[in-house]
Subunit: 330 residues, 2 copies
C-alpha cells in the first residue's frame, strides 16, 4: 500500500495536525513512458503554506483531499521509460506519498558526485532562489552591505555564502544564538542579530556602519519594517519570502514602507524562482562548482519518518531548521 | 525692498499660514559672475513639504527663518555675467523672493519658442519626472495598462499623455469629475476614477479588464493600498510621490504590501528625478519635440500675487490644481 498525506481542511492561522490526514491507497500502476519512484526524501517548504489557501496566487492552491504536491528524492523501482532504470536515484516533482509516478518532464536523474539530498537544497530550488534573488534582483555592487532575514534558513544560508564569496559585508538576522554562531563560524557571516533577544535596529546600526544596501527578506513583518527603516539611498530589497505572514488569518498591518522607498530612491522586488527558468543551468552549474570546490557549504536538517512530514512542515514556522529541511522517508 | 517668504516654524501635520512669514530685506547686491533676477513665476511643489521637516532626506531640510528655496522664472534686471543681458528671461533655482541672485550654475536662459511657464512644468522637473519615471522605472511593454494616481496633477497629467503616445491603456485616479472630464476629453485618458465618489477597486476592475501592469503613484496611502491589491503578475509600481502622507504627523499605517509584491513577482521603485541628471537632455529634447508637435499639452494652474504663494502651496494638499501649479509674482 501507498501512504499519502492529504489536506483535509484549509488551515486558518497556524496549521495543525488536524488539517492533514494520512491515507492509504494502492501503489500506482505505471504506463508507457512512466516510472515508479519509492520516496526517500520529501521536501517541506514555507511556500507550501500559501497553496493551502483557496485564493489566487502564482500557482494554483492545493485541492482538498488530494495528496499534497511537493518535490523530493527517490529510487526508481519500476520503469517503462528507457531513460530510467530500476535503481536510479532521481529528484522529482512528487506528492507527500511513499510512492510516486514520474515522467521525463517531472524527473531528473542524479549522480553520485554530491550527496543526493543536495538536489533538493543547494542544487535545487533553494540554491537557485538564493542565486537569482541575490545576483539578479539584488544587483550587488562592490563593497556593499547586505542584511538577510531568516539567515539560517534554507535560502538565507545560501544567500549569505554567495554574498561572502562576492566580497560583501553580510549581516544575518536569525532566532537563536546557536544559529548565529553557526552562521559566523561555519558560513563566514560577518555579524548576526538575534531578533528574539536583541534590539534589531540598534544591533543593525552597530553591525552595518556603512548602512544597508541590500536587504534579502525571507520573513516580512516587524523585522522587515525595522530593516527598511535603515536602508541606504539607492538600496534594493529582495522580497523572497514572508514566513512571518503566511499564517496570518487577516491582512497584516504595519507602517507604510513606500514613502521610505521614495525618500531613499530605493526599490523592492518580489520574485519567484520560476521567473528565471530560462537561466536555470547558469545557477545550477555555478552552484555545483562552488559546492565541489568547497566554497559553499550545503546544510540540511533531516527529520526521520514519513509520519513526521506534517510536524516537520509545521516546525518551519517555529524556526526549527538550519538550512534546508527534508524528511527522510525510509 | 525685496520681500521673501521664510519658514518660521516646522509644521506638524497640515502646514498653516502661521508657519510662514513674509519678511523684507534690501534687494541683494550682485558680484562679478552674478545676475539679479526679478521673479515673475514661482514654483510650488509637493516635495517641498518634506524639506520642512527636520529630518534626513535626499536633500537637506529648509532652515528656519531663511527664505524657502524653490525654482522659478524671472527677468534679468542687472548683470555682471557676460552670458546674460538685462531683459533676458531665465529659469532659475531661486527662493520664494521677489528678487534673486543667479549664476551660470543656477540659471538657464529661455527663448520664445514656447511659453516661459513651460520651463517650470512640462519642460522642467515636472516633465522629466514623468518621462523618466514612466519609461525608465515603469519599463512599459506593448499593450499594457497603466493606472496613475494624482492623475490631474503636474506629473500625473504628463505621465498619462506620454503613456497614451506610447499606445498604452491609461486610467487616471483623481478627486473631481471636472478633472476627470479634462483628463479624458483634453488629454486622451481612456478612463478615470473619482476616488471621492467611487469605489476605487470596483471602478478599477471595470476600467482595467486586463488588470494593472504599471501603477504610477503620486499619492500613496489608502488609494495605493487599493490599486496594489489589483496588480498583475510582474507589475511595476513607480513611487513618484506620496502626497497623502506628507502631512502625517505620525508614521502612516496600512496593510503590508510586500507580500503582494512577492505573490505577484512585482516590484516597487522609489525614485527621484535627480537620479537621472545624466540623461536630462534626452527627456528635455523629447518633451520639447512632443510639445512643439502638439502631441503633449502643457497645463498649468496660475495663482496671482506673491502674497498668495503660501496659500497656493497649501492648496496642493487639497487637490486645487490641474497640471503644474505656479504663482505669478507680478
Amino acid at each position: 500500500m501507498n501512504k499519502s498525506i492529504t489536506l483535509v481542511k484549509r488551515p486558518v492561522g497556524m496549521p495543525t495536525l488536524n488539517d492533514f490526514l494520512i491515507v492509504e491507497n494502492k501503489i500506482p500502476t505505471i504506463r508507457d513512458g512512466e516510472i515508479l519512484i519509492k520516496t526517500t526524501y520529501l521536501s517541506v517548504d514555507p511556500f507550501m503554506r500559501g497553496k493551502m489557501r483557496d485564493r489566487e496566487s502564482y500557482t494554483p492552491p492545493y485541492q482538498l483531499n488530494k495528496p499534497i504536491d511537493c518535490s523530493g528524492i527517490g529510487e526508481v523501482i519500476e520503469s517503462k521509460n528507457s531513460n530510467f532504470q530500476v535503481g536510479d536515484v532521481v529528484s522529482a516533482v512528487m506528492s507527500w506519498s511513499e510512492y510516486n509516478v514520474g515522467t521525463d518532464l517531472t524527473v531528473r536523474k542524479l549522480n553520485h558526485e554530491l550527496p543526493y539530498t543536495t538536489a533538493q537544497g543547494i542544487l535545487g530550488m533553494t540554491g537557485r532562489t538564493a542565486y537569482f534573488g541575490l545576483l539578479y534582483k539584488g544587483q550587488p555592487k562592490e563593497g556593499e552591505t547586505i542584511v538577510i532575514s531568516g539567515a539560517a534558513g534554507a535560502v538565507g544560508s545560501v544567500v549569505g555564502q554567495i554574498a561572502k564569496l562576492k566580497g560583501f559585508r553580510v549581516v544575518g538576522i536569525c532566532g537563536s544564538d546557536e544559529k548565529g554562531q553557526y552562521l559566523i563560524n561555519e558560513l563566514g557571516f560577518d555579524a548576526v542579530v538575534n531578533y528574539k533577544t536583541e534590539n534589531i535596529r540598534k544591533a543593525l546600526k552597530h553591525h552595518c556602519p556603512n548602512g544597508i544596501d541590500i536587504y534579502f527578506d525571507n520573513v516580512g513583518g516587524d523585522i522587515t519594517d525595522q530593516v527598511v527603516s535603515l536602508i541606504n539611498f539607492g538600496a534594493r530589497i529582495v522580497i523572497c519570502g514572508a514566513i512571518s505572514e503566511y499564517n496570518s488569518a487577516e491582512v497584516s498591518v504595519g507602517p507604510r514602507l513606500f514613502p521610505t522607498l521614495l525618500n531613499k530612491s530605493a526599490s523592492a522586488h518580489g520574485f519567484i524562482v520560476n521567473d528565471f527558468d530560462q537561466l536555470r543551468s547558469e545557477a545550477d552549474n555555478q552552484l555545483r562548482e562552488w559546492v565541489l570546490q568547497g566554497k559553499i557549504k550545503s546544510k540540511e536538517t533531516i527529520i526521520e519518518g514519513f509520519e513526521n512530514t506534517v510536524p516537520a512542515f509545521l516546525s518551519l514556522f517555529e524556526g526549527g531548521n538550519v538550512g534546508k529541511l527534508l524528511v527522510k522517508v525510509n
